[in-house]
Amino acid sequence: MSRTSTAPAGPRPPLATALFARRTWKEFAFIWTALPVAMLELTYLSFAFLLGLLAALSYVGISIAEAFATGSRKLGTLSIRLARRQLGLEIADPPSSVTHASDADWSTRMRDLATSRTIGFPLLHLPLAVLSWSGSTIVLALGAGLSTEWLVQLVGPGQVQIFGYVADTPLMHVVFTVSGVLILLFVWPAVNRGLAGFHGNVIARMLGRTPAEERIMELTDSRRAAVTDADATLRRIERDLHDGTQARLVGLAMSLGDAHERLARGDDPATVVALVESARTAATSTLAELRDLAKGIHPPVLDAGLEAALASVAAGSPVPVELDCRIEGRPSAVVETIAYFSVLELLGNVVKHSGAGRAEVAVVQRGDRLVVTVADDGRGGAHVGFRDESGSGTGLAGLTGRARSVDGSLTVESPDGGPTRVTIDLPMVVA
């Protein structure tokens, strides 16, 4: 199973110079720093466990346990930061608690606590930290001791014993010194690297996000985008119906009711003509409005395929549009709809804001992705805004939400002065 960590970045330093490489010493520093951190973690855990046991006897037990869990999550971040800075590992912050204590029931909170990997991490971390710390330090000391043995012998009194061996002949001195230098140059950097790397990867596995957790976060995001988009669409349709169609129909009913009463009363038909005429106008404009509204929900031209639909959009645009459509299969209906409305809105932006003389729309299939590009030669400066701002860029934010609802993305390149290029990357097929 692959995790969200990568091997330390950068080229491997050549073996012979590894001893003098900055990276080697950063790794060594990591091993030394990680040891007190691991001790702190385990101390915290033992303390928390004892207090938690005491607290469990009372009603506040679970809240206290949660507070401790939050604490160990924060402590875990310390190890992650250390591994990130010293080893160059890419580790995401630990997943935040699945639930929010305030709105979850008791059993969910318990389960959340029980499944938190962060809590048990110190139990594994301390032995690991001791292993990498002692392993690396012993090998380094051995190398340093052997290589300097001759020197020590020369300046100081007494003998240097290494693993019970004493160098008492010049040959032994040479053997000791050479093997010491070899250890320092080749063995220690490798051992150090191996231990630090292993240590860092354990941290990444225990504390970082699993691919499943990453996916859950992506899906949570895209679901939020989909729900927000659907809600915004439904509200817009309701508003259009309320302000447009319903209002016109009320007006129509009013005119017809008035006309009916006037005729029934025997009024001069000439006075009624105007009322009937306004009723007719209201009926016709209501029809046109309903047609637009229906088209806004699902344009019938889309049934003939994305290319045909976009061709009709391009043909109707006040700014000349060059359309380049290269799709082999047929994308999912929802993808076609998103692509269609995005192009429609982007071309609308081109007409309204860009001052461009021409625009290009490209729809290209790349493997299982559909890449839609809308470019213009206008003044640029487009950006993705948020809803609470002045309103500028909210259209693009809406399109981004739509794209994300199907695991797609939207990128805007629009420097001030132009040109503007908006690229939407969508999956061909949405299951």
Binding site: R239, H242, D243, Q246, A247, R248, V250, G251, A253, M254, S255, L256, G257, D258, H260, E261, A282
Partner: protein
């Protein structure tokens, strides 16, 4: 009769004004939001206000809030809410605020011009007018074990018409009954719902509305 109109849709506002003026009603002003309505009424209190509920700036219940304030500051001015939705909650809020000269009609009702104008006059005269839709949803809260379950179909029908603000004689005409029969049914309804008897049409209607709007919890 002098009327002020608040409606954000120009089509409906203009149509309404034309309709009222065409039937000899004096329109003191027509505005597009709640605050303007309050200002208009303060300047020149009309006999009755016809107001949309959903208006700028928030497009929620601006008209209702303006109506409540007008009712508080100018109790003599009737308030007729005029909406595309029949919300029991709005009707209840309105009835809670006042039981004199209030009304709630769907915009659809304007198609029957004479009845609509008559409703406006009723509200101006201090009566209560509720849309049949609103009454139906108030009555729809009838539960199998509630006191409304004890009413016969005919009694329910009469209750519905009463709640809409019709007088005994109007109910008699609508149901092709004699006024005496209607009177008998009404006495029976009041008995079953344990409401205080009264000979005054208006007071009786109010008792029924209060009962329905309160969700008849007291009687259950």
């Amino acid at each position: 009769m002098r009327v002020a109109v608040a409606e954000d849709s120009a089509i409906i506002r203009d149509g309404l004004v034309a309709l009222l003026v065409g039937r000899g009603v004096e329109v003191t002003g027509a505005v597009g939001d709640g605050d303007s309505l309050i200002a208009l009424v303060a300047q020149d209190p009309p006999d009755v206000v016809i107001s949309d509920i959903r208006m700028p700036p928030g497009h929620t219940d601006e008209g209702l809030r303006a109506a409540l304030r007008i009712k508080r500051e100018h109790p003599a001015t009737g308030v007729l809410l005029f909406s595309q939705y029949a919300e029991t909650r709005y009707a209840r809020t309105l009835l809670d605020a006042s039981s004199e000269g209030v009304g709630y009609l769907l915009k659809d009702r304007v198609a029957d011009v004479s009845t609509f104008i008559e409703s406006v006059r009723q509200v101006a005269a201090g009566h209560v007018v509720l849309d049949p839709e609103v009454v139906t949803s108030l009555l729809g809260r009838r539960r199998a074990d509630g006191p409304l379950a004890m009413l016969t179909e005919r009694e329910l029908e009469i209750l519905r018409l009463m709640a809409e603000g019709r007088s005994n004689s109007a109910i008699a005409v609508a149901l092709f009954l004699s006024p005496g029969t209607v009177e008998k049914h009404i006495t029976s309804i009041f008995g079953k719902l344990a409401l205080p008897a009264s000979s005054d049409d208006h007071r009786r209607v109010l008792a029924v509305l209060r009962y329905l709007a309160a969700g008849h919890t007291a009687a259950e």
